[in-house]
């Protein structure tokens, strides 16, 4: 990749020590660019460890709104001696290293082809602050101040963010300002400010917001009416439950009584978490759990029960690097097969694939509706990248007066009119039966829920024909789901090329940029973003309309490709994979190169290089 143009197009990486308070300073830096009207995408690259190890934070600025990860670091802010060697090596030729030169850098670290910007951050803080904790904390603010001068970030914007952040602790504002000014002053006195890499105010973000997908998901579940949440901590899903609880504390409390319209339980494990959700949904509440791959593995038996007994369940799977404990703090999309077919026997589950925080919000609420409507588990397939990193997103929207879809539930009155209630009767021919909540009617509508085979009236049976009728109806129900799940999205004109590219979730950012890169070389490729499983007709049509379809995904075994081939009966040869599974989000460059390489092989005349 060429170096960014310099203005509003670069990557900054911060190398910190986990647990030293750098996250807040880095966040202020990112927010400042955002408030200057620039599209940015920050990424946390952190170890599975609480304190002491190296941690990185990377911000890509791109005024064309290419917000996938881009390789190559233009500016590295290195304040972790532990990783210094590696950090220096990672800077692109011609790039900058901003480092703490309180101690002189050993000659062996020097590189001819990059620019060293030494700022005695620790020394300045030692002189200025007496308290050791402050000395450490404000070192981070010093480099933000220096960057403001070096990159031409408006100081007023940064100060505004700090004032907002410490609105409740105004005493902390002046020392923060001092650190900022110290850093900026030093940079101006010692270096030519601004650098050739810098920012200029733009108006490229409109009314966008910037937040992480887990918070957005939690808010979607809250607006969507979840009143019971049961969960067990696991990275990277924990903040879904945490955000749900934080917002529920403010937004779900009866102002008069102080009582809560919500129950949140940290369960003893994932088995209990999903069990509680099943119990709550069986009893007519809306409930969800949030977990990551390992948790879904544990939940398998219960997911099968919910599928077979037809209980609405909403599950958020914030995927991380597997298998096993894999790379717990890295991202992947590697639970597609294990989620789509979770549990033993013939099972299939509805999956939703959001790709922006706004969609995490929308799908959070939608999952609850779909689960109720279809009386089946619905799994929101998020991942660490969208879940834990902030993304620029359209604002969260809720339709005034929107009603929840509670599905086919019979009230006491309805039951009066029903001659004989059959819990598993396919009354409407769509495979979806009617249910009743416990306690509804004194004499009608009670039934037995079980994971064992039963007839249409919920009576236990091992008769083969009753079993077959039941599981066939479940297939019919899954067919019905196709018309209810979000349909795919298309970008640009449809059917311009005989090549198609299919992607979903967080690979979208890089895929869209890759499309432009390909276009730049005269390679036209049609694109489609999948948003759900089961695949509806538009997905099938798209694949049939193209000679070759590239499937972009973040796992080793091309899981989405397998599911597409299996579910839609597609010839495997026409589905080509673009894979990335090193735990980092895929880059546009990688997609571009893989597609170009494949096309060259398919059609030697197309060799563009």
């Amino acid at each position: 990749m060429p170096l960014g143009s310099g203005v509003n197009d670069f990557v900054v990486r911060f190398a910190n020590v986990n647990g030293t308070g750098s996250a807040s300073a880095n966040g202020i830096f990112a927010k400042a660019l955002f408030r200057m009207g620039l599209p940015i995408s920050p990424k946390n690259i952190f170890p599975s460890n609480i304190q002491g190890l190296p941690t990185w934070y990377e911000v890509r600025v791109n005024e064309n709104a290419y917000l996938g990860r881009r390789e190559g670091i233009d500016i590295l802010v290195a304040v972790n001696p532990q990783s210094l060697k590696q950090d220096i090596a990672s800077v692109k030729s011609g790039g900058y290293l901003v480092y703490d030169n309180s101690k002189k850098l050993h000659d062996s670290f020097l590189r001819e082809d990059i620019n060293f910007i030494g700022i005695p951050m620790m020394q300045m803080c030692m002189e200025h602050y007496s308290n050791p904790r402050q000395q450490q904390l404000f070192k981070n603010v010093v480099y933000v101040g220096a960057l403001a001068a070096l990159l031409d970030i408006e100081m007023e914007v940064i100060k505004g963010i700090i004032s907002d952040q410490f609105a409740r602790k105004p005493k902390l504002v002046p020392p923060n300002f001092e650190a900022l000014d110290m850093g900026a002053k030093y940079a101006r006195e010692h270096f030519d400010c601004p650098l050739d890499i810098r920012v200029e105010r733009r108006d490229k973000i409109g009314d966008s917001i910037m937040l992480d997908g887990n918070t957005a998901t939690a808010l979607g579940l809250l607006y969507g009416g979840a009143s019971v949440a049961a969960w067990y901590p696991i990275t990277p899903s924990t903040s879904v439950a945490k955000a749900f609880e934080d917002y529920a504390k403010k937004l779900r409390v009866d102002p008069e009584t102080g009582k809560k319209n919500v129950a949140i339980v940290q369960a003893e494990d994932e088995l209990a978490a999903i069990g509680m959700v099943i119990g709550a949904c069986w009893n007519g509440a809306r409930a969800f759990t949030a977990t990551s791959g390992a948790g879904v593995s544990l939940m398998n038996e219960f997911i099968g029960l919910a599928y077979f007994a037809e209980i609405p369940v909403t599950l958020v799977n914030v995927q991380r690097g597997g298998p096993s404990t894999g790379m717990p703090t890295r991202t992947q999309q590697a639970d597609i097969i294990s989620s789509a077919y979770a549990s033993h026997g013939d099972t299939k589950h509805v999956l939703l694939f959001p790709s922006t925080p706004a969609e995490c919000f929308e799908f959070g609420a939608k999952a609850l509706d779909l689960a109720d409507r279809l009386q089946t588990p619905v799994i929101l397939m998020s991942d660490l990248d969208i879940g834990m990193n902030e993304h620029v997103s359209p604002p969260l929207k809720w339709e005034e007066g929107k009603k929840y879809d509670r599905g086919k539930v019979l009230s006491a009155q309805d039951l009066e009119e029903v001659k004989e209630f059959g819990r598993y009767l396919d009354v409407d021919g769509d495979g979806i039966p009617y249910r009743t909540y416990p306690g509804t009617h004194p004499t009608k509508g009670s039934f037995f829920t079980r994971g064992t085979s039963r007839d249409e009236y919920a009576r236990y049976t091992e008769q083969g024909d009753a079993y077959v009728r039941n599981v066939d109806r479940l297939s019919r129900k899954f067919e019905t789901a196709k018309s209810m799940v979000p349909s795919p999205q298309f970008y640009g004109k449809k059917n311009q090329s005989s090549y198609g590219m299919l992607f979903f979730g967080t690979t979208t950012y890089a895929a869209l940029e890759a499309m432009d890169l390909l276009q730049g070389e005269g390679i036209g490729v049609d694109s489609m973003r999948l948003r759900a499983f089961p695949f509806n007709n538009e997905v099938e049509d798209f694949i049939h309309q193209h000679t070759y379809v590239f499937v972009v995904e973040q796992n080793r075994d091309a899981q989405m490709r397998s599911v597409l081939i299996q579910e839609l009966g597609i010839r495997p040869e026409k589905m080509l994979s673009v894979l990335n599974y090193d735990g980092m989000p895929i880059t546009a460059d990688k997609i571009f190169k893989t597609v170009r390489h494949n096309l060259t092989e398919l059609n030697p005349k197309m060799d563009a290089s």
Binding site: A263, N283, E462
Partner: protein, 350 residues
């Protein structure tokens, strides 16, 4: 297959205060082995619910997997029932209870279901003080999978195949006491006189109420040398006291001058009257109950009856401070935060 009895019952049979006959509390015909202790417990549940004037549809019956867990099919056919997965009834009951605090929750489990695969969920339901009645039909073996020893089988107990159990038994009562359960009792499937009032009191208790019921498996664990057989249990059982459950409705005017009887009042005003309790034991005092239990164990006795009760416990809903309206009754109005709140949220992310 479950076979259902005809619902017809003689019109002259007595009805309880809420208008149901005893037959209304029965379920499908049991498919358990003839003589299985579990069927007697089902019978006691039927009796207790009838006498408690419970409207069947206001009770939810939940269980795990096992012969014991099948029993909810055999009582209260007009209640919603739920056979969950093996050992995981407590979590389903927790969720159900969170969704609607106004129903009565009755969980039925086996000793295999609870003391092995479901141990984690059992102890956590206690820890959270879930408002439910939890009955373990304890036969010291796995009935449904044909007789393997369970974790409650006593050390040295002899199985049907003649082998001696080499491991210490898990005492679910001891655990419940240790974990702070507010209502702990033990009984015997063959002792309806004791079991029925215990079930009634458990259902009236405002938090987690546990009853461990020794329930012999006639097919796999009723042999000589088994410590969970009918014969052994009858021989070594001593009752803590004779007990009586007095529902709130009855104004209590009777005299209980007898020095050796204790009254325990429940939150709803019902009372449990214990006559002639065992010396040196106060059911309100967990320590004394613990002591009594260990003491009996060392003498090879099985104490039955109410072992401990704390009528003023805080159940899970109190702890979580949930609304008085059941959560499953809340609508968009209470559940969806306002559009203004959403605008504030959006603003906080700019």
């Amino acid at each position: 297959m479950s076979f259902y009895k005809p619902t017809f019952s003689h019109p002259l049979l007595p009805k309880n205060e809420v208008g149901y006959r005893k037959a209304d509390y029965e379920g499908a015909i049991s498919t358990l082995c003839a003589g299985c202790g579990h069927d007697s417990i089902s019978g006691s549940i039927v009796q207790a619910c009838y006498e408690m004037n419970i409207e069947p549809h206001r009770l939810a019956k939940l269980s795990g997997i096992g012969c014991s867990s099948k029993t909810p099919t055999y009582f209260l056919s007009n209640s919603h029932g739920f056979n969950s997965v093996h050992g995981r009834m407590p979590s389903v009951a927790t969720g159900a209870n969170l969704a609607n605090k106004h129903l009565i929750y009755l969980g039925v489990s086996g000793d295999g279901d609870t003391a092995s695969i479901g141990m984690g969920q059992y102890v956590h339901a206690i820890r959270r003080n879930l408002n439910m009645t939890y009955i373990v039909m304890n036969n010291g073996c796995y009935g449904l999978t044909k007789g393997q020893d369970s974790a409650t089988a006593d050390f040295g107990s002899i199985s049907k195949s003649g082998s001696k159990n080499m491991y210490q038994a898990i005492d679910l009562i001891g655990l419940a006491l240790e974990l702070g359960a507010g209502f702990v009792a033990r009984s015997f499937s063959g002792d309806k006189t004791q079991l029925v009032p215990l079930i009634k009191a458990a259902m009236a208790h405002p938090g987690f109420a546990f009853i461990d019921v020794i329930s012999p498996c006639v097919t796999f664990n009723n042999n000589a040398g088994s410590t969970k057989s009918y014969e052994f249990t009858r021989e070594y059982m001593t009752a803590t006291s004779k007990m009586d459950f007095v529902p709130k409705r009855e104004e209590i005017l009777v005299d209980y001058e007898d020095d050796s009887s204790i009254e325990v009042e429940l939150h709803d005003g019902s009372k449990i009257r214990l006559s002639k309790p065992v010396q040196g034991w106060d059911p309100h005092d967990r320590n004394s109950a613990m002591h009594k239990l260990l003491d009996a164990k060392s003498r090879g006795e099985i104490i039955t009856g109410l072992i401990h009760m704390d009528p003023k416990t805080q159940d899970l809903h109190n702890i979580l401070n949930t609304s008085d309206t059941a959560l499953n009754q809340l609508t968009e109005k209470e559940l969806t935060p306002s559009l203004e709140a959403l605008e504030d949220i959006n603003q906080s992310f700019r």
